[in-house]
């Protein structure tokens, strides 16, 4: 399966209107942007670079969902940039660039999604777009950190929620028991979790794609800020990723 390439394709740089912003869970916000160009072009796993007022570096965000004329972004307030974003008012303007990077392959027959925390964002989008049904494992630290997923559970994917606080285990603990009948694992979440998922899938010989996060500058391969160690040396998260097959990365380094 090939990653859906967006590399060096034309991307769109424009001003959009933020039409809605609401709290989705503890410290987590869901932001709606008015747009009909990027939403049409973007694949699950690709990302946007948002300009944040008063900041020099843009901030990369993956897409939580799209409709004909909106895109939704999910984010946690974890620094100054996201704080400013969380305080923006509906109808304000936002400068965005996208779609950037490479997206997930969509041709899985029996997918398994495994999301940790905010990693749920790109997988929610992916789970909406993949035709065949499968399972969606979604874990958080605390119960109040779950956000509502936006695909119909009954007709799409079976959702399995785990909170470390309540269940005393995490998504990786239950992954092995769900791998049977899975042809592809799609993972997104903290690095520690991704490393474990990669380890489990490698041992089980299951195809697995992850989405990688790294601090970014430009977002399209020009500044070499977003290096990630792969088996072929450093590659750029923004232009070579952010979606990688687990076999591409050098996991000893992570």
């Amino acid at each position: 399966m090939e990653k859906l390439s967006g590399k060096m394709k034309k991307f769109i740089h424009k001003e959009t209107i933020l039409t809605d912003i609401k709290k989705a869970a503890l410290n987590i916000f869901l932001l709606t942007l008015e747009d009909n160009q990027i939403s049409e072009a973007i694949n699950p796993g690709q990302f946007l670079q948002l300009k944040i007022k008063g900041k020099i570096l843009r901030r990369p965000f993956s897409i939580f969902s799209r409709s004909n004329n909106t895109i939704k972004i999910l984010f946690r307030v974890c620094g100054e940039g996201t704080k400013i974003l969380s305080e923006m008012k509906p109808q304000s303007k936002l400068d965005i660039i996208g779609p950037l990077g490479n997206g997930f392959p969509l041709d899985s027959k029996s997918p398994l999604f495994i999301a940790g925390g905010l990693g749920v964002a790109p997988l929610n989008f992916l789970a909406n777009e993949i035709k065949n049904s499968g399972k969606f494992i979604y874990g958080t630290k605390h119960e109040n950190e779950f956000v509502a997923l936006s695909f119909p559970e009954t007709t799409k994917h079976k959702i399995i929620k785990i909170s470390e606080e309540k269940d005393k285990k995490n998504v990786c603990d239950i992954l092995p028991e769900h791998l049977e009948n899975t042809d592809t694992v799609y993972a997104s979440g903290p690095r520690k979790m991704l490393k474990k998922v990669a380890d489990i899938c490698t041992k089980n010989k299951t195809t697995c794609f992850i989405t990688w996060e790294e601090r970014m500058g430009c977002g399209f391969g020009l500044c070499q800020s977003c290096a990630v160690k792969t088996r072929a040396g450093y590659k750029m998260t923004c232009a070579d990723g952010p979606v990688f097959n687990i076999n591409e990365l050098d996991w000893h380094e992570h």
Partner: protein
């Protein structure tokens, strides 16, 4: 708006800074219509370099700190992969180079010249390298330039740093035969990130007043083609640098904020 800078004819005085615009040709199909006077490639070395482990970039008040560590594809790959697409651009790409020894500097220059590169920029001033920054050793710098000018027929431009004896160095470089000077590279700086200390180079609006003063002082003392580089964000920055004596204007960090800056600039003037 066309100017002559360091022996090069440029359609306008705006250049993309080294390291902020790839090797020059990557965005060919994305920003086809960008009206640069020219651009400077990412610094290349004889051997390919891996650069530093991540994280490599941070934001500070009014600036950014990078610690890329001169990751580049090396001379051979540059010639085979990057040069062909650079040749199709509607503006000249000045190739930035760094040598560990005088022989490496010479190899880079002669090879690029043989391959019809219009000019080179000597990166004498990267703070992201282990050991001493070349630019702190004025004799070494002037010696490199003197040796290179003996063998070169294309313009040789020096990229210096505003914080290491810039006036004295510029005098020396001029005597050695340099064709133009770009001031400045990033300033050595530090940042704590997740409790860990990282060193890197500071760029952006935070360094502009220091670079501005330096341009002014160099111009006062040396008659040389000068390009200003440091925190250029808008037309008033250009006016400041022009008043201080710069003839060309090099845009770096701003491209990370707004990759279309050049379009805004060229329509505004």
């Amino acid at each position: 708006m066309s100017i002559n800078f360091a022996g090069l004819t440029l359609n306008n005085p705006y250049l993309a800074a080294s390291g902020c615009f790839g090797y020059g040709g990557e965005l060919e199909n994305i920003f086809q219509n960008q009206k640069w006077g020219g651009c400077v490639s990412k610094t290349i070395t004889v051997e390919k370099r891996d650069g530093n482990p991540p994280p490599r970039i941070f934001e500070t008040e009014g600036g950014i700190i990078n610690r890329i560590g001169l990751q580049n594809c090396g001379l051979t790959n540059f010639l085979s992969k990057e040069l062909p697409r650079i040749k199709n651009l509607p503006y000249p790409v000045i190739v930035s180079i760094f040598g560990n020894t005088i022989d490496e500097w010479k190899t880079l220059l002669t090879t690029l010249e043989e391959n019809n590169v219009p000019a080179v920029e000597l990166n004498l001033s990267c703070p992201n390298l282990k050991g001493e920054v070349v630019v702190r050793n004025i004799d070494l710098c002037t010696n490199i330039v003197r040796e290179l000018k003996k063998i070169s027929g294309i313009p040789v431009i020096a990229k210096i740093n505003a914080i290491y004896s810039p006036v004295e160095l510029s005098c020396g470089l001029k005597e050695a035969g340099i064709d133009g000077i770009v001031c400045s590279n990033t300033f050595p700086a530090g940042v704590y990130h997740n409790g860990k200390f990282y060193e890197g180079g500071l760029s952006g609006p935070a360094i502009k007043p220091v670079v501005l003063k330096t341009i002014f002082k160099i111009k006062e003392n040396v008659d040389i083609d000068l390009a200003a580089c440091g925190g250029i964000w808008n037309s008033s920055d250009i006016e400041d640098y022009r008043s201080a004596g710069a003839r060309a204007f090099v845009l770096g960090s701003v491209l990370l904020t707004n990759p279309d800056t050049i379009s805004d600039f060229t329509t505004a003037f």
